[in-house]
Every structure is written in C-alpha cells, then in structure tokens.
Symmetry: D3
C-alpha cells in the first residue's frame, strides 16, 4: 500500500457518499464501487488499456484507464471493491469515468451488502412483524418450532438480509423477508375465507417455505448461488434446517413433522417445477398458490415498471418468453377526466 | 294422464318437500326427483324391470320398478323430472326405492335449478355487492362498460345462477358469483400492495373474465356444457359478449378495448391451458393469478372436506392425478389443548 | 425544408424508380428508401458519423454519412421513408452508399406498401375470385354472412393487402389473399373426395379463418404486429369481426353461428398451438388441415428456394429447429437425360 | 369330422351367402362367420354354456350355445372361421343366434379377407391407376425403382389388400391403396401449385411411404399387427424393402437413394411421432403433410358418420381425446330452402 | 372367541404350512392367509354371501362363503390375516375355496412379512457384504459416516427387509438390499473404467441413494407407502436421515456434506422425475445411471419372465405403456443345434 | 505450384512434426495444419489482411497474414490442409502465428485423420477383441451374421476409425470401437446377473447398435455428418446394412431377424429420442440401458475433466442444460490423510 493509496482509502467525509447515480459529465468522481467487469484491450499501435464496469446500489457506469495498467492489472479483479478516482466524461452517448487512480478497498472496511440492491423498508421492523406472527400461533408444538427457528441468532441475522431470488422476484437484500410478509397478508385473507384450513400450519408454511434460501444464495458483488445451493438447493436445505430443529424438540408429533415438511417439499407446486411431491394437503396447496401469486406479481410489476420501448413494450423476458406491455402514457384512461 | 297420476302430481303441501337425504329404509317415499339414469334389465326368466338413479339437491338414491314398465318406458327419460312414489329398502348395503308409481312432472311446475347443488348465500345480495364494485370504478369508460353489461337484465338473470364450472371448482348454482366476489377480495388486497396496477382494469378483469360461462354452461338435470360451450368456449364467448357492449359505446377508447379483451383472452395463464395469449400486462397477470388461486383453493377445500378413507386420504382426483391427505382426527394439533 | 431538399423530393421522372437491386459500385444513387436502421458511431479521434441500412422491395443496402450528421440526426428515424442521394461504393465486399444528402420523404407522397415485399399477382383479380366463391355458396344465411363481410369496403381494402404472417409463410403484401385462394383449391378437392362435409361451411372457414390478421398485422417499414394483435390476437379478433356481422343479420341461425365460430376458434388445430378448442367438426378439421398444409408447404418452399451453402443446406430455421436440404445441382436427376 | 358337419360345410348355393346384417329375429340362420369371442359361463345351478360373438364383413351378432358345449369347446377358438346354424332371437334388445350346431370351417375353403371390412372399390382397377402413376415418372432411375417394386408379384398381391391402419384411418382391406391414391390426387394439386418441387420424388414418396404396412399388419379375424410390425415397425420395414430394391439396381444414384429413403424415414413428420428424422426436404414435407391431411380427414369423416347421441355428439375418441359434433338434422342449413 | 375357533387357530404342525400354490381341486384346505379382498354379494332371492381373495407368498386364490356370513362380516377386514378352512373347487376355470370356517389370526402369532414376496437370498449375508464395502472406503470422514449409519441397529433392522419399490422393481422383502448390492457390482466396473471418479463417494451414493425407502415403504398385507412416504418421499427422508448423522460427526467437511447430499437429491436423474436437482457431478451421474440400469433391467426381466399370451407377448405394462415380447419357445435359436 | 511452394511442401524431416501444442512465442513455426477458419478484414485505411484459425490434433492457434493476401485468397478454404510458415507472437494474451507463407498441402500427401482427435488405444488390437466376442457367440445364425458383417473389409476399415458421435461422447477417431468394447464389459456383467437374457443377442445388439455411424459421420477437418447421415440417420442406415447381410444368408430365421433389428430400432430407448419403437424385449432393454450408461458417463467424465472456473464449475453444457461441478482441489478428501 502506498501512502497515496491511503489518501484515497480515507476520503474526506464531505466527499462521501458519492453515488454513481449522481455522477454527471464534467464532475470529478471519487468513490468506492464494485468492479463488475475488468477487460484488457489493445489499440492498433499496441498500446494496452483497461475497460471497467463499476456499480453501486444506485446504478452502473463504465470506466477507462489509459495509463499505468500494470499497477492495477493483478491487484483488482471482477467482484472486488475499489476506490476509484477520475473525471466523468461522455462516450458514445453514455457517461464514463476516465480513471486516474484505482486501488483495492480494504476487505473489512466496507459491507458488500451496501453495494447490492436493498429493500427500502426497515428490515428490523419487518422481522418483528414476522416474530409477532410466530407468537400468535396457537398450536404449542408448532409455536415452539417456529420460535426456536426464528429466534436462532444465525437464522435471524441471515433471514433479514437474504434475497428471495437471484433475478426474477424480490431479488434484493431483504427481499425474502418482504416476500414472506406479503404472503402472510394474502394467506390471512385466504384463511378468513377458508376457516377449514389449519392456520397454524399455513403460517409456518409461509414463513419456512423458502428458509433454505439463506443457504442457497450468497451476497457477493451480486446475488449468487452458493455451491451447496446449486447442488442441494433451497428446498432440501430448508427441510434439513427445519428437520434439525424438530429433532431437538423432544416429543415433537410425527403428524406435525410430516405436514410441515410436506409444505416445504411441495411448495413449487409440481414435480416438473422441482418439488419432489406436489401439494397434497389443503395447507400446502394454499402455501404454494400464495407463493406463486406473490412472486409472480412482484416480478411482473418490476418488469413493467422498468425500461420500455417507445411503443410501451418491455424487453423480452427470457424466463417467461414474452415481452410485457407497459402501455403508453394516456392508455386506458383516455377521457377519464371528463 | 290417469286421475291417480294427477293425485301424485299435486301432492299435499304437508308432504313436501321430501329430500332424498332424509329417506330411510322402512319409510314410504313420495317426491319429485331428477331421473339421472334409467336402464332396462332382464331376469334369466325373461322378466324385464327398470333400474333408476334419482337425485335432488340433497343427494342420490337408486330405484327399481318391477312391474308395469311398459307404461313408463317411453314417458320418462334420463334428465327428466318425475313424481316418484314407493317404499325405501336396503339393497347391497345401500338405500333404494322400490318404485310403485312414477310419472313425469309437468315442465312448468318445477324449477330445474331447485334440483341442483346451489350456493348457500343470498345471490341477490351478492349481486348488489358486484354492482357496488362496478359503481366504484373511476374511469368513466370502464365504469360505463361494466355497468351496461351487468345491468343488462339477461346478463344479470343468468350471472346470478351460473356455476363457475362443471365439476372442479364452484360447481353449483351461484358458484360464478361467489367465485368472482371472492376474487374481488383478494384482488383488492393485491391492489393495495401494488398501487402501480390499474385497479379499474383489474376489477373489470375479475368481474368479466368468466362471463362467457353464462353461455358455456347450462343447467339441466346436472350442470352441463352447451353445444356452443363445447365448440366455442367461454373465453371466446365472453369476448364476443364484452365486444358487443364495447361496440355500442360510441368512442370507446381503443386502448381500453384492447386491455380489457386481453384480460379475458389471457386469463387461463398460458397457451397450453387454452389462452390464445399469455398474460402480457400487469393487470392481466393479477387477474389470472387471483383466478388460479381462488379456484384451486376452493376445489381442494371441497375435495379435502369430502369423503376420505380410514387413513385420512381422499379418493384419487383425476384432474390433479393425486389423492389429498385430509388427515386423521387429532392430526397436527396434538397437545394443542395445554 | 430547404429548396435543395425540394429538388431531391421531386426527382425527375427519368431517374425513377431506382431500385436498390439495380445499384452497382460506381453509380450515383438517387431514390426513396425505407430507413431500416440508423446508428451513430464515433471514430477514435472523436469524429461521429452515421451508419444506415436502407431497403426497398427489391433488396437492402448499407449507407454511411460522414459529415453533417447533426442536420439529419433527429429528423430521420428507423422506419421512416427518406430521399437518399450518394455514390455507390464497395466496403468489406459489400455495396454501400456514401450518402451525400438524406431528407425525409413527405408522409403522403409515398405508399409504405410499395416498399414491402409484395405478391406478384393481380390482387384485385384474386379478390374477385374470392367473391365468386362467396357467391357460389348455396346456404342463404352463410352466403349473406360471407357477402356482407367481404363486400364491406374496409375489409376489402385491408384484406387485399394483408400478409398472412410476419415471417414464416406468405409474409408479403397480398399474402393472405394468396393463401386463402390456394387453400380454396385444395379444399375443393377434399370436398369432392368427401361430399359428406358441408361445403358451404368449409368455404367460409377457409375465407374467414385468418380474417383477424387484417387487424393483427400492420404494414410499417416492415410487416409487424399491432399492439392489439399481440395482446388479443387474430383468432379472437377474427371472431369479434365475424360475430359483429352475425349480430347484424336478424335471425341468423344459432347452429350456423356456432359452427362458423368453431372453425375460427379451432383453426390452429390444438390447444397448445393457440386454439382454445381443437377441431370437433368435420368441417373444422378440414379447414385446419388445409391451412396447415398450405402454410407449411409455402414456407418450406421459400426456405428451400432461398440461400443455401455449398453443400446444398439452407440456414438453420429457428421455428422448425432444422436446416433444409435443397440439394446439389444434379441431385436425384442423375441420368435422367439418358 | 362327422358327416353331419360335412352337411353344414357344404350348404346349398341357394342359402348362401347369409350376411349377418340380413338376419332378423324369427329367421333360421346358416352361415360361415368369424368367431370373434368365445366365453364359457356357468349358471347358478352349475350348468355351463357358451357365449359367442360372430362377425362377417356386414356386421356382428352374439350367439349362445346351451347344450353340447364339450363338443366344441376345444375345437373352435377366437379367430377361427366356423359354420354356424341356429335360430335368431332377441335378447336384451339385441339379436342373438341360439346356436344349434357350430363346426370349424376348413382352412382352405374360405378367404379370411372376405370376413373383414373391405373397400367398396375395385382394387384391381385402383392398382392399375397406381401403376399408371409409376409409368408417368420421368426420372428413369426412379421410374425403374418404383416399377420393380410395384410389379413384384408379392408386393402387388399384398399391397392390393393391405389396410392402412388397424383402427384409426382406412382400416379395411384395400385401405392402403385407397389412401395412397387419394394422396396422389392431393399431391398432384400441390405439385401444380409448387412446380419447384420434384414431382417424381413426391409421387414415389406418396406410393412408398407406407409400403412397410404390407408387413406390419396382418389379416386375421381382424386387422392386427404382426410381431415384426410391433418390434420393427412399418417405417423401418418399408426402408428395408425399398433399400433391397435399390441394391438390385446397379448404379442407382446415391443422391436419389438418400432422398427417397428420407421421405420414408420422415413421413410421420416429427421425432415424437416416430420418425427418426423430421422432413428436411420440400418433397418430404409435402409427402408428410398430404399423408397427415388425407388420413385425418378420412378418420374424422368416419367418426362423424358413425354413431352419435341424440344431441349430435359422437362417442369419445380416445386417440384424439375428444368427441366430435356431427350435428342435429337441420343444423347450419336452416332456411336454406327459402 | 369360540373353542372351535381356537381349534382352527392352532392347527397341527403336520398340516402346516399349506401354501396356496399347492392347493388343487378336491383337496381340503387349512391355512393362514392374508385376506386381500372381501366383498358382500346378494343373490336374486336375497340370500347374501361373501367373496374373498386370499394370498400368501406363494400366490392367490379366491374364496366363497355361502352361510353364516354375519359371524365373520365384521370380524375380518381386507388386510387381515385369517385362518381359513374349506374345500378346493373349480369355478369359471379357476380354483376357489368353498369356505367352511374363517376366523382372525391372532396379531402376534404370525409375522406379516412371511406373507409377502421375499428375497430368496440370505439377507444377513448380503448385509455383511454391504458392511464390507463400507469398511473398504478410504476417506475417513466418509467411512465414518457410512459406518455410523449402517451400524445403527434401527437402520440395519429395517434396511435388511425393505423392498426397493411398491410394484415396479425389486418389490419384495429384501429387495432394497439386493438392488444396492447389484448396483455395487456395476459401479465397481464403471469405477475401474473411470478411475477419475471418486470411488468413495460413488460407493456411498449407491448405498445411501434409496435409504429413505426404509421410511417411505411399510410392510402391511402388501408393500405400501406410509403417509410420510407419500407426503415427504424417500428422497427427502433419506437426506434428513443422512443429514442427521452428518450433524453428529463434529467437523464433518462441508464439501463432503454437499457432495453426498447431492447424490441423494439428484439420483432420479431429472427434475421431471422428482429430483429437485439433476446430477451435476461425475459421481452423481454414475449413481443415477447405475440405479436406472439396475432397476429397469430387474423390472423388465420380471415382466418378461411372467405371464405371456400364446403369441409370446406379456400383458400391457401401464408404467411403460407397452407390452414386452417374451418370445416363442424356439425363438432366435432355430438351428442352434446344428 | 511454384518451386517455392515445393520447398515448403517438402519440409526437412528434422523439422517435423511441429505440433501446435509445442509452439511458443519467439519460435519460428513450420508445419501442416488444418485451416479451420479464414476471414478477410479491412483496416480503417483500406488495407486488407487475413485472419486464420489453424488446428491439428494437439490444439489450435490463430494466425494473421498482412501482405500478399490475393495470392492465397482463393487457393485455400476452410477445411483444407495447408503448409504454414511464420513467427509465433503474442496477441491479446494468446499465441498467434504471423504468417509468412501459406500454401495448400497436396491432397494425397496427408491423412486427414491425423489432424483429428484420436483414441489413444491400439485400434487394431481393440478390433481383435471385438472379433473374439463375435467368435464366442454360440447361436450359429447369429455368429455367422456378426462374422460376415465385421469381416467385411469395408466395414472393418471404417469401424476402426469411426467416432461414436460428433460432439457429446466418444467424439474422436476410434471412439465407436472404444464405446462398443466398453459396453461389452458392462453387458457381460449384466448377463452374469441376468442369465435369463439371451447373451448372443445382447452381444450383437452391443456390437451393431451404432454401426450406421460408419455412414452417418464423416471425417473432414472435423467430425461431421454426411448428408445421408442427416437425412436418413445412423439408426436406419444401420438397419439397412444389417438387413442386407441377413438377406444374403439363406434361411436366416425370421425370429432372429426381427429380434436383432428390434435392438437397433429401439436403442435410443424412446420414441421422443428418435427410436421408432421403444425397447420391447429384455435384450433390447439391456442394450439401450448399457449404451445410455456408457455414453453418458464418458461424456460427463470428459466435461468434468475439462476446463473449469476458479470455483470448480465447468462451462454450461448446452445439451444437458447445466454446468458440472468438478470441485476444488481438496474437495471431499479433507482429512483423508490423517
């Protein structure tokens, strides 16, 4: 580490935080960003330079480093955090940083999660709402099971930050918690409409169905799958976590064990969507359907709220094999103000 | 018609109504039932007799007529209503009526719908709730469209009694109305969670998505498909009905026309489930998912609440290719009484 | 508009029409073309220039504009018609126009359809053949229905120019009409082989099955889907158009209504191919199969007649997931001249 | 063999042929029928009797033999031809023969094909039409190949009688020949519409595509699959037969060999329908589509022309998973006589 | 209980065991059988009688009880063991027992497993071979894991008797053990061919892949699924069992945990066959493929070795949607003795 | 040919063979390579140059030719063999040859197979093992059939060099022979486990199932499909080859013919994988399953042994739609050396 680098690594409070979204051409930029891509290119004359893609939670910007590339070439890799300094320009109709200095950020100095898209809600408060739902469970075996799981400090810590997915729905820090609480609202309505369903089971199914995602997904410079997530998967990881807690409760009833595990095993709704068993109880049916509804509406709402072409259509969504029609400004409301 | 038959055809008020569910062996039965099946059989000695299956809204019972079959052979067909009189016996562990007299019921004298399973709710009151939702629509074009459709007397008359299906969900008189109002509750919650969706469209999609079922299904001695229902289907029948009303509103906006029709066209959710187009707007996505949720939960709740074997499993449900586990008496609640 | 531009906008009759197919390097080009693509690029030194792709019915050519790009940058967009003037060169083994002047063509001055691939047949004459088939229908209700639809001036105008598809079969101006008349020939043969089929229905099914395409597809600088075409689709759009005409004919028989609509609803042949109902009458079966035969043979014939590699194989056809073997020159006919 | 049996075996010319369709209650029957089923039953008192189902080309009738069952029990099996004598009665609303005598028919004395459903056309004349199509082929290699195959006496003999299927389409003696000639008419029209296709290949594809069926299907008391038909299948059996003839023609061009075999290999149209390769030439595409059209129309026409219920619907067709609507008497033609 | 019944309940040693396979008409039968079915029927005159289906490991036989049915009607249910006494007759070409006495067998007196189809091999010896394979594992963590599981007395007891399936392959007591050891032979060969695979993992995958079946399947009067087996399934049940043992081994490596669980999770080979994850390691690929090979060959060998018709074809196998050709006596070996 | 070219075309023995794998920057290269790609590019100033991709069995390297491109432009095409001479440099972190001279290699002078990936085993010795298996067949008809096929010099010559596939498994010269012998080992074990299977048939099924690949695949500069391979396919090509040999053996039993052909026809295991018939004999079942096992394990072993990222995952395998986890260095063996 050179002294100069220390200078960068400890920017004045006044300058911080520089959000990528706030950078405009002509400005001098100084900030800590995730390096999403780093590529070496060569000019016809043989001169080599580096192209970067930087990101923080607010957005992305490209960068170019013309000189001194050997100093940084091995010190910084895609996925790292780096202090970046340079002038903001325009290139091919887009902003880019003409980098003057780039040095690695110290591992312990920043929380990678701060560079990821994150829920706008108070995650601690949301978690309290989750715990309140657990305490309202009347069946003592189930209440104890859910309590022990969600009061486990490791579970609590990870559950508060876990995303619910990598890309399609609730794909941001805190997304799992938001998803589960949104489902809880819907499930409560369904339980009022269908009092014959066992509400204590449904609440548990809602809270636990995706708990394996706290192991399946990891927060790197982007949300990613862990190796175990790819090889074992959140469905079985969740069963193992819940099963371990059941094992610890002496006398936990076999019937409840079977019914709770069934909700986890079947929550994808069908064998061809990755559930070894389809829902075969009323409660598992409700959990699956509410999960499906909440996740799809969230995902489509984000797509429709995102970029669209001038005709009002979004880009093609590969997972659904379709574009969505977000509509033109005055659509469907023509004449509504007469 | 013999005088004797007239006697039967005009039973004393005191004797009525005899519900099939109330018949017990040893009793003398006198009632008006739907003839669901009529079969002629022959004994080894050549003597011919008739076997019947009778039904009313309360249940079913078999019948046998040993003598005088020629009198009734052509006068009564499956699907007819008939006055039936005879003694209730036990045969092969089941109740049967040893029929003494059976004569056709006059067509105008009874409402076939009275012999069908029917909603237990006040259908007029439910329809007023539907109209209230229509009046709450703010977009004037949509409000006018929905109003004209649901205030059409023919639509109103049929919509109040239509079932939502033949066998799987809400398969009873008034089922469509119950289904639509249940969906409306869920959709209202989703709209609170997702204010970016156009609520006026979603309300219309919920109310209109299955309106073609008032033509697709007919109430005979059982709920059945009409020929046009089989050949054209409620999806296109609904589009034609709604399109006709749009045509009558001068200046109805093309954008609204397209968006409303899209919700009907896509409400099955996927091409392979019979929608020529999958949902491609946020509102159509919500309508499809809420429809799916409400219909599946209703159907599974009925299956699970129905007959089960001693191990707690229902019969095999062909449409879903599975049995459901309804559970043993104390299941999942062991210890809940501490 | 500058006077100079007027000069270009009113080219001498002698110079017109310049077809792209006729341009050769060294020639000076002056013509009206569709601008299919317009991209801004920047040289290493910062100089910006524009790359174009131009098209007319005869083919495509690239263009480059080195100077004065700010004048045209906002005035011309992809999809516009433009007067183009410049020298034809060779670049990377391909022709390109080094553009000297490019100005928008006045909207009313040209028919966009003239720039699209178009049937080589006399569309008016073909339409008369269609009307003759309508007049030969013997069932008076059906004859009246078909007549009123095809004599509707708006239908006639659009039907004559509609393509039958965007890319796979009969994808050119007049393609729908050619497709329908080709089907009519095949259907006539099938009706001779199968006199038990109702020919009046089959003729209507053939003529009407794709009528919704006059609304589904629009002619821009290329054949494209309209928004309503994407969201509602030609199958339902066709039912709405035909249903509206049926509504106007007092006393139109319910049976005929149902059977005609069924042919439209089922013409894709299977639910998973977008028909809400599969064919369930003999006539609908014939219409679907003749449609399938004619469209597939047309499409494959065009593929096989198009570009092939030196081994005789066409490019990979994505929709069919295969290449076609067009064959080597002397294939299968070796020795045929002995 | 008893003399008495001989008496039956040589019925007077006057009495013959007794067709099952002509038998009416009260008549004494004497004829040679196929025994389609033979079942032994036991009365409560222990008396055993035999129930039969007899058939000839004109229809089916049941039979009962009350006495002397041991004499026939082992001598006659399902699938045999038998001389039957007895009185025609009515039982359970159906005709039955109260059998008095039943003896096996001598193997050589009757042609099993005479007891199968058979084309009503002159099969020799049809075969001459097929040969005429062969002679009209212009490519000498193909003409020689087709000629040698169809002039092979064994092929000719079997081809004239082969059915085209076991149950779905053209399932009768001569059905293959009718199917192929009907296809030839359609293919000729397509070739006029598409002169770019190689007609000599298409004609061969039409004539040869199902030639393996002369080995796949066997004529027993009903049309059935041979063991080789089940294990190898007509597609590969056809390739082997055609390949053998190609091997015998010295210098037969490799390109033609490949193209002809490709039409056989791909004629089912898709891998999942049993073609190892999908059609990849224009000619193979035409052969597949014409085959598909002709076979489906024939099959549906037979279903629609067969039994229907009082509402005009046929029985459920398992292979297509649907019923067909044959319609009520005056359907679609209401008012046609005004 | 009457004394008479005790007499039957303690039959003389000399009379036992009577195997159903040994019963022939004319013999007097006395034995303990499983009651697979019990049906009450009524004669025309009103007399009621009972029909039974009895089974033991050797086969099945029907029974009829004409008198005294009220004594047994409630005492014996399908699934029970019963002492049966009566004469063996022939009815409709099949053996049946004309039952004289039938009384329940005392629950504790017989082992239900004795009435189930069972492996012909020495299960204790087979289990020793399994343990030997465990001891040969070189990786100490894996060896310890496998050892602790298979030396668990409860696991050992159940593993020795578990079937590998309910009906398709290795569906008999000891079938799981036979299946696993047969797989081990094949896997050893594959490991010799592919030394790059980790043999210690493959051995564990083979031994553990179906261990959940010791909970999924239960031995009643026939092999059946437990409720937990239906709702959770052997795949997840196996993961829970193995996961619990891993939890108990302090320091068990995460990598090994993930890789072992992956083999269980993926052993069905594909998502649509019930594996939440497909095989994604070489070892999981081998385990799946060897499982597939061994189970399919076992199943088909049993089908082909079972009943066949006179043409050499087996009955239709629903799971595979085909019949198998077992062949005629001299097939494929004609001339082999020259 | 110029003298200069001759100089290159006859390089000194000392210099040869130059393997691409051995080239390092700074070295002067001289060798015969396959030209896999040849592309013409143009610099901004208009100067045109050629980019190459060269390959031999050891690997690939790019090349660039700056001057004199017109001399070689038409003389050398992708797929040709060429003498190449130039200096080895580094460009964009990769080796490239700055070509000085490139001339076509004489067609007859080199064996194209020498430039393809090739089995490391002695193919002659392997073929002797195959013949030994043929001689061990006991059924004389089958032994004669197999012998005549594999002793046919043309078959022997092609079989020794044929690959078993184009890309997925055993895709190298000699791959088919390795695949068949590996299958033979596995099949021998299965036959010991299942003596009820006809070993003589299974051996033939193993040896012959892919014999059509000697015609389906051709060895060019890479392994490719022949036209007949694409249009007819190795399954039918194999049947034709085997059928021709059966035809030549007088009296070859029909049963054996059918059973052998069935193994070829069904070896892909299912209709949707390209087998017109699924396996319906025990022997065909074994051949299919052993083929499936051997080919999948070989393919996955190669993928897992190939390039992986730093986390231990291979690239995405399109055919299987997944990546494989090859693992980190110490995986699963942590602690194994304690």
């Amino acid at each position: 580490m050179t002294p100069e680098r220390h200078t960068i690594a400890a920017p004045s409070a006044a300058a911080l935080p520089v959000r990528i979204a706030d950078l405009v051409p002509g400005m001098h930029a100084r900030g800590v960003f995730v390096v999403k891509k780093k590529v070496c290119r060569e000019q016809p004359g043989g001169h080599r330079f580096l192209l970067f893609q930087f990101a923080d939670r607010s957005g992305q910007i490209n960068g170019v480093l013309w000189d001194g590339i050997d100093d940084v070439s091995n010190g910084i890799a895609a996925g790292d955090l780096a202090h970046v300094q340079g002038d903001v320009q325009t290139y091919q109709n887009a902003r880019q940083i003409k980098v003057q200095r780039i040095v690695p950020a110290e591992p312990g100095g920043f929380d990678l999660a701060d560079f990821l898209p994150t829920s706008s809600q108070d995650l601690e408060a949301l978690y309290q709402r989750l715990l309140a739902a657990v305490h309202a469970v009347r069946n003592p075996w189930l209440r104890r099971l859910y309590s022990e799981i969600f009061q486990d400090p490791e579970v609590a810590r990870r559950f508060k930050h876990a995303p619910a997915g990598k890309g399609w729905h609730h794909a941001y820090v805190g997304g799992l918690l938001e998803h589960v609480l949104s489902m809880l609202e819907i499930a409560s309505l369904i339980l009022r409409q269908h009092p014959e369903a066992d509400g204590d089971l449904v609440v548990g199914g809602v809270l636990l169905h995706d708990i394996g995602k706290i192991e399946e997904l990891v927060l790197r410079s982007h949300i990613d799958y862990s190796d175990a997530g790819r090889l074992v998967g959140h469905l079985v990881q969740g069963c193992l976590l819940v099963g371990r807690h059941m094992d610890r409760i002496e006398g936990f009833p076999a019937e409840a064990r079977m019914r709770v595990l069934h909700m986890l095993v079947s929550h994808h709704g069908a064998v061809e969507r990755g559930s070894p068993k389809p829902p075969m109880t009323l409660e598992a049916t409700i959990v699956h359907l509410v999960d499906h509804l909440d996740s799809q509406v969230d995902a489509v709402a984000r797509v429709v709220g995102g970029p669209r072409n001038e005709d009002g259509w979004t880009e093609h969504v590969k997972l659904q094999d379709r574009s969505y029609y977000a509509g033109r400004p005055s659509a469907a409301s023509d004449g509504s103000n007469d």
